[in-house]
Symmetry: C2
Subunit: 677 residues, 2 copies
Amino acid sequence: MAGNGKRARVVFQPSGRRGEFPIGTPLLDAARSLGVYVESVCGGRGICGRCQVSVSEGRFAKEKIDSAADHLGPATEAELRYATLRDLARDRRLSCQATIEGDLVVDVPVDAQTNRQVVRKRAENVDVTPDSAITLVTARVAEPDMETPLGDADRLRRALAAAADLPRLALDPPLLAGMQKLLREANWQVTAAIWQDDDAPPRVVALWPGEKQHVYGLAVDIGSTTIAAHLCDLQSGRTVTSAGTSNPQIRFGEDLMSRVSYIQMNPEKLPDLVRTVREAVNALIAKLVADIGAQRSDVLDAVIVGNPIMHHLFLGIDPTELGGAPFALAVSEAVHTTATDLGLELNPGARAYLLPCIAGHVGADAAAATLSVRPFDSDAMTLLVDIGTNAEIVLGDRHRLLAASSPTGPAFEGAEISCGQRAAPGAIERIRIDPETLEPRYKVIGLDQWSDDPEFAEVRDQVGVTGLCGSGIIEAVAELYLAGVVTSDGLIDGALAEKSPRIVQKGRTFAYVIADDDVELTIRQTDIRAIQLAKAALYAGVKLLLDKLGEPEIQRIRLAGAFGSYIDTKYAMVLGLIPDCDLSEVTSVGNAAGTGARLALLSRVQRRRIEQVVRDIEKIETALEPRFQEHFVNAMAFPNKRDPFPKLRAAVALPEQKTAEPQAGPDGDRRRRRRRG
Amino acid sequence: MAGNGKRARVVFQPSGRRGEFPIGTPLLDAARSLGVYVESVCGGRGICGRCQVSVSEGRFAKEKIDSAADHLGPATEAELRYATLRDLARDRRLSCQATIEGDLVVDVPVDAQTNRQVVRKRAENVDVTPDSAITLVTARVAEPDMETPLGDADRLRRALAAAADLPRLALDPPLLAGMQKLLREANWQVTAAIWQDDDAPPRVVALWPGEKQHVYGLAVDIGSTTIAAHLCDLQSGRTVTSAGTSNPQIRFGEDLMSRVSYIQMNPEKLPDLVRTVREAVNALIAKLVADIGAQRSDVLDAVIVGNPIMHHLFLGIDPTELGGAPFALAVSEAVHTTATDLGLELNPGARAYLLPCIAGHVGADAAAATLSVRPFDSDAMTLLVDIGTNAEIVLGDRHRLLAASSPTGPAFEGAEISCGQRAAPGAIERIRIDPETLEPRYKVIGLDQWSDDPEFAEVRDQVGVTGLCGSGIIEAVAELYLAGVVTSDGLIDGALAEKSPRIVQKGRTFAYVIADDDVELTIRQTDIRAIQLAKAALYAGVKLLLDKLGEPEIQRIRLAGAFGSYIDTKYAMVLGLIPDCDLSEVTSVGNAAGTGARLALLSRVQRRRIEQVVRDIEKIETALEPRFQEHFVNAMAFPNKRDPFPKLRAAVALPEQKTAEPQAGPDGDRRRRRRRG
């Protein structure tokens, strides 16, 4: 084995970045320390599979490296599980799992960063034929002729129009300044980027001497906490690199509404909020182009998606109107603008496109997710849910599509939960509760072993057990319900305190103790209440849309966004976050908004499609619907007071309907519940 | 009579500017000292008639002024002459002639500043139906509705599209930022400026609350020495105010080629040349909008014309390619751009349009002059000449149109002439030479009296007699030729030294002494030679075009530009600057380029027309034409060695063909000339 004993040399391709690392360093860590972007959305747990890399074997003279696949440590349990459950190609490794054991040349495949989405897209057949708004055309321009004194720009346009078979072609005036020198230095052979979208006449927006093979487009999903950006080759349609960062606007307010409040209180700070997010995107652009050895001027188009407030702020629009009824969007249809107008540091001729917003609470990100999931092309009644502080809900099929949002609040993100925390090492992400003993076993982020593993005690202190992340909370509440600790009304059954020391009284209610080592981790009555409120809001929103459609059977459920990617769909259904459906038809679609942004970046057909879909989509304002409250009250129960969830019951043994004192609902409800109980 | 003895109060309307002035101050001087723009192109000589004003009579309580028409001094000789020759309305005075004799409220009529052009336009029937690229549309926008969550911008676009009967309407994205506030403050009633030109889809480019009545457009003619700008009401088509300034690029080079050389030597200074001319235009804009009490944001469109080098520099393009063969224009077709891209401080949504350039030496100014004179609509064979350092020549009729330029050099502008000077007080502008006595009488700029007037000696020292301006030189040489002092070959006949002391020997040649008081003012052989070279170049260019057209008879001649406005067309023809033509059909058209710019500003039909005309016009590169030299040699003679000028001879008694030793031309020419002599 090569290597120099304690440290090994690693070169990442195609970026060519290199460094020396201690033996045993996970490849992902090494990549990150060199600024090589490898996507990973599961926090290095070997779940998401996006961090795949391969080893280039052999002797690399230039690099002075003997690289071999076995210079990586053996596959971990997580990696073997991933390889079994998904399809990990033979030469691929998960860089979060594989450790450096010798000198290596590592290839970061351009598709690896979006591997899961590629798989998903293939599965759902949303291959895109590249048809971007930017076309590259190479042409030989006629030299100047005193007898026919047509300007250089005019001869250029004629040559390009002929080469591109366009009847007419405009030219961005700022190109005129440098054009004469460029034409002469290029000996009259140039490549132009021609932009055409919608009903705009085609325009030359950039010029290069000679032949130019690749230009790129940027797809950005601006979330309230994170920003994800992808660089795509506009000709091949391939995603060549991706990067993410946190949204620095967070310092003006943790969540959306607090940012709107901040602007209402400090209207003069609006430019700061706008600048700060644009700067973050510019930093991502710098990272992306450096990753592939390209330049900013190689990026000719950008697609931006985000929720309405992020969308407005990115456009420089004061989002105050979105802070209160009637939640008036400044603009709902797609926006065609220039990168310069958005402060994006790309090619000076680069264009930008923002997908349409569906409604005041259902943004361009929801439109992009819809474009990615394509319910409008499906015969299957599809529910698409993106869960955040607001749940954005799209329901329908090729015949009819509805959209709404429900104010779920931040409980699903671990906020308002007594021992909630963000998904980070030490957070419980999975939990099982034995229905007999009521004892828990759990798994924390950062450790492979479950808590009942004999080795757990040894490794435990590496990360500690610090709290419950969103998926951990969902599983904990669902397992408590399945174990009979929590009634379908959401009450912790105090009578069980006699059976298990894990049930303890806290004031006038009871709590369930998961752990009591570093810190006491308990599920309290208030935590369950917070989950009930959040999931009832989500479910009530779905029900409203189902009402409008005549209560059809839901055939597919797609969960989008970070939360949707991590929760176990079974537990989500056990709690009644989502309606009854064949569990095999409930899947996560990851960052569907980012995928939709890329589709719009790569294809004008997709832009026109989503513009029309958003025009046609029926927007339901949940606050205006009289039945919302009724659905909400019913949805407080697990899984639901009214809806029977037969498909779920066929797959999961739900506890007998056991009720404690009801905490909400009119008398009639209480009577019915007792009768059913 | 009112007034306070030594000083009088004067208020200029509509600007409302006021001041006190010594009795006897010319109104034009008073206006200028207050920054009230009154056009005057003849240097205050009562010739151009553009400085017309009227007196508002009566008691003006607010102004504390008793204003009466007779508070102006009596009409001067120049004013009476103007009133007789042109049509000066009863209530109008020439402000360069009228002196302040008491308190006054003076009205500067909006049409006065372009009076002459209005007259001319009426005469040549180029009334324009306003059809500008900017339309104002007022609409009531539907308020936001949660059930139909269309964005404010989308409802705005729908309301405007309905009001303007447009199927589709885009909106400039930068408008989004302020739109929501504006809509609410305007209570949903707004006026939009909609821009549409060529094949661009219509766009909302500006918004105002409520109703907006007037928006303006800017027409600018950028000359190498002066910049003229007009503000036009885009709805009515009226020119509401005008202003001019010198081109500050002059500090980088007096003439065009010296500026190109400067950039070639100092390429890093290009941005300075660009900025300096744009700043000058911005200063004019400030003056124009202040004049009418408007704001920069009321100006929505701009049309810019200039010769190719001025045109390129204004666009920020390095004009180096225009400095040498093949004189490649960066762009020849019309340029559609934005005011912002040109650094113009207008409404942020304002557009800009540059007329097409015809060829490397025949610019957008020539295109504009062509649009103004409209030979392409005429059955009359028309010659349009704009004389500067280059003479731009357009010849043809509705069937066929040709264009060329000839390098006349700066002689016509008084440069390269021993006693030449710019048109300024003290310059001889007119001269007559008695064919018998050979004694001259002349008139200088700034004095009414001719030099043979008994009063002349008294007033002479007010301005002195300092040199000859362009028109003075033309008249002097022509009168010397008519008086037989100069032969048709351009030689001063030394034999006449015996007859008159005004013919004196200077080295190996002779000179004619006009005056010998303050300074000796003489026409030397070299001066005549310079005029011959310049006029021969011009005439040879015209002849080339005539050749191409089969030597048709010229039915109309139009002289454009400052020089063309001041020279006496008879003398121009006597010297053979211009070809033979009925003298009544030879007229000056003033700043035809500025008029053409206004036509393009006010009418898209005119834009499309001149674009097509310029595409179709046949461009002749004089340097490539083998017959140029032959025509040039023939044109060295007065009026011409070959062409007989029968119409001129019918109107003016030309001297018998008297030759001295020829100075140029092949032997064959000499023989023929002798045979004819």
